[in-house]
């Protein structure tokens, strides 16, 4: 165990150095740090994100480092959160981005708004909030570009995002617990479509996925078998609308909130075909 601990310690030190490098107001000329550097872990995040800490913790928050930068009368609050892995970083980014505004090509994903910039890259989720109320886009873009350049590692989107058919797709997000509000579906991706939504949940094995399917059938009662992937069924639910669940190997997937349960099978077939 000792070598493992040593590696973990080295990695942690490396990431601290990285975060410190990111939270540097001098990354953009003309900006100065105001006040001390902020550091938080899961244990005390609530002291800073008063009332909003759980929204970070459920996505696998590890630690945060932040600074406030000033230039004349303008200020930018920069917070860099280290998450457990790149998927978690993308997850919290997707949950917090404005789905009505365009994405920017920064890291794995980013967004620059007049007073707010966010992006994720590898296991880092970066937030910038600017004051006062005006368009801070140039400064935000300058900081984001410098910070993004200093983070090495993965920039590719989680594999599951490519599995959802693109037609009429609105957004995709990582749901860290209880997909569709069902505890049986522990953690997965949910894609919002113009009508209805699709989901994919990975289980540890085909056997455990099959066991979850059995429990889902039991939960919903009168289900209709469907011919999709390894096993599938359709059902109508008062809150989840027309539903089609399928299993392909260790993956569970399907569609929900469809106006007509019949549509579910064909949509699910298309989704299943894209899952390896």
């Amino acid at each position: 165990m000792r070598p493992l601990k040593l590696v973990a310690a080295m990695l942690a030190f490396a990431s601290v150095a990285c975060a410190a490098e990111l939270t540097d107001c001098h990354l953009v000329p003309g900006w100065q740090q105001a006040g001390p550097t902020r550091e938080f872990v899961a244990d005390n995040l609530f002291e800073y994100m008063d009332g909003n800490a759980e929204g970070y913790l459920i996505y696998g928050f590890v630690r945060m480092q932040g600074v406030t930068c000033k230039s004349g009368g303008d200020s930018i609050v920069i917070d860099v959160s280290e998450m457990t892995d790149p998927d978690a970083a993308y997850g919290i980014f997707a949950a917090n981005r404005d789905p009505n505004q365009p994405m920017a090509a920064i890291g794995t994903g980013g967004q620059i708004l007049p007073r707010r910039g966010t992006f994720c890259k590898d296991r880092y989720y970066v937030e910038l909030a600017a004051d006062p109320d005006k368009d801070h886009t140039p400064a935000l873009k300058a900081f984001v570009a410098e910070m993004e350049r200093r983070i090495s590692g993965r920039t590719t989107l989680p594999d599951a995002l490519a599995w959802f058919p693109a037609d009429k797709l609105v957004s995709v997000r990582l749901v860290p617990e209880s997909v569709l509000g069902l505890r049986l579906l522990k953690r997965g991706y949910v894609a919002q479509y113009e009508s209805g939504k699709a989901f994919v949940v990975a289980e540890a094995s085909a056997e455990s996925a099959s066991a979850v399917m059995a429990k889902l059938r039991e939960r919903f009662g009168a289900t209709t078998p469907a011919k999709v992937a390894d096993e599938a069924f359709q059902v109508k639910d008062q809150y989840l609308g027309g539903l089609c669940f399928f299993r392909k190997g260790r993956y569970l997937g399907g569609f929900a909130n469809l106006p007509d349960a019949q549509d579910g099978a064909s949509l699910a077939t298309a989704l299943a075909a894209r899952i390896p």
Binding site: K5, A8, A9, M10, L11, A12, F13, V16, V41, A42, D43, N44, F46, D50, G51, N52, E54, G55, L57, I58, V62, R63, A95, N96, R97, D98, P99, R116, D133, V175, P176, E177, S178, V179, L180, G181, L182, R183, V190, Q238, Y239, L240, N257
Partner: protein, 390 residues
């Protein structure tokens, strides 16, 4: 030993809150006779109601904290089952949460109450936030608008109170509130200000009696009290990967914690975070079932279990170690390692302390001068930190 008995007394005091007073302010409605309820046993749940302070808002004692809800369907179903108080905030997922709540409750808007919050620190920004909240929620008013997360007197700015008054006059909010994690500090100030209709406070079974006294003060002043973090910080911090999780989240503990809060006649509703349908069903039972002696024992065990391990950062141990150790800091570093598997972070923080601190060994003291009021076994925990990190 003294602290253990104090905790038991605390629980016992909680249990003996005047039942008569509670009965006079709580209305219980049995929904079992109502047709077309769906899905689960929760459909037959009894609902209990109280009125928030002087607002006239008659709310279910179990409300719905929407912050980490995974799917709008859970909120929609809660409303169908009769839950009528839903809480969100401008800051939750940067507005995405308000959007989900608004969409889920659209068809029920006239039957339910919605509260949201602003983190803003000046009048104009707060009013802008409110307009955004109304747009995202798809409503023309919110029932309670809280100033979010104010924990000291200087944060309760006159211009924010003015923003609430303006919003009231404009009909955009019905009532003004403030959320705080420091009710003992803030409630007397809010009473003095006289403009707050409700206060949203951290309240759970792990807290000291002073919090009870503070919320009683609020109730006497006619201010509504809404409970948050009702499942207790000890549970909130526990991650599934935590080796202690099975014990800290043992079956029935969460429900018992919620029931404990509802025993207080001074708390009108609660906003437990609900992720899924199962949690909703579980929490609804708190309105239907009385707090039982079995649950009292369960929470006492939880408290006993949590207390020796978890430092509450109350600061009362500061300066009491004969060797000058920064006790709370070292305990926090140990929590990083033990509670969150962040061994390297804990060690890194520990080793950053001055050498005269890191070289101290508690085993060298025959007695410990530090007494934790919450029963944390300080000497034992410090020794573990020294063994682990030094």
């Amino acid at each position: 030993m003294k602290t253990n008995s104090t905790r038991r007394e605390f629980l016992a005091v909680g249990l003996s809150l005047p039942v008569a007073a509670m009965a006079s302010t709580t209305e219980v409605v049995d929904r079992t006779a109502e047709p077309t309820r769906t899905l689960s046993s929760a459909s037959s749940a009894k609902l209990s109601y109280r009125t928030i302070g002087k607002t006239g808002l008659k709310v279910t004692t179990v409300g719905f904290g929407c912050m980490i809800t995974s799917d709008a369907s859970v909120i929609e179903r809660a409303a169908d089952l009769g839950v009528n108080y839903f809480d969100t905030a401008r800051g939750y997922q940067h507005g995405n949460n308000e959007r989900m709540v608004g969409a889920a409750l659209k068809r029920k808007r006239n039957d339910i109450f919605i509260s949201t919050k602003t983190p803003s620190e000046n009048k104009q920004s707060a009013l802008n936030d409110l307009d955004t909240s109304l747009r995202e929620l798809g409503t023309d008013h919110v029932d309670i608008w809280y100033l979010h997360g104010k924990d000291s007197a200087d944060q309760v700015k006159d211009e924010l109170i003015e923003a609430q008054q303006i919003a009231k006059q404009q009909g955009k909010i019905r009532f003004a509130g403030l959320s705080t994690h420091t009710p003992k500090v803030l409630i007397p100030i809010l009473i003095q200000k006289g403009t707050f209709d409700a206060v949203l406070v951290t309240y759970n079974f792990t807290m000291d009696k002073g919090v009870d006294e503070a919320i009683e003060q609020a109730a006497k002043a006619g201010m509504g009290v809404v409970g948050m973090k009702v499942m207790a910080g000890g549970f909130r911090k526990v991650k599934p990967s935590d080796p202690l999780a099975p014990k800290l989240k043992r079956e029935g503990a969460m429900l018992a914690a919620l029931k404990w809060v509802l025993k207080s006649p001074n708390v009108q509703t609660t906003i437990p975070s609900m992720t899924d349908m199962e949690q909703l069903d579980e929490n609804l039972k708190a309105m239907a079932e009385p707090y039982s002696p079995v649950e009292e024992k369960l929470l006492a065990r939880q408290l006993e279990y949590i207390s020796p391990l978890y430092c509450r950062m109350c600061g009362k141990c500061q300066g009491t170690c004969a060797k000058g150790l920064p006790v709370a800091d070292i305990l926090r570093y140990l929590t990083y390692a033990d509670g969150y598997g962040q061994f390297s972070l804990g060690r890194e923080e520990f080793l950053a302390l001055p050498s005269e601190v890191t070289e101290v060994r508690c085993s060298g003291c025959s007695t410990c001068t530090v007494n934790c009021p919450f029963g944390v076994k300080v000497a034992k925990r410090l020794t573990r930190a020294q063994e682990l990190f030094a």
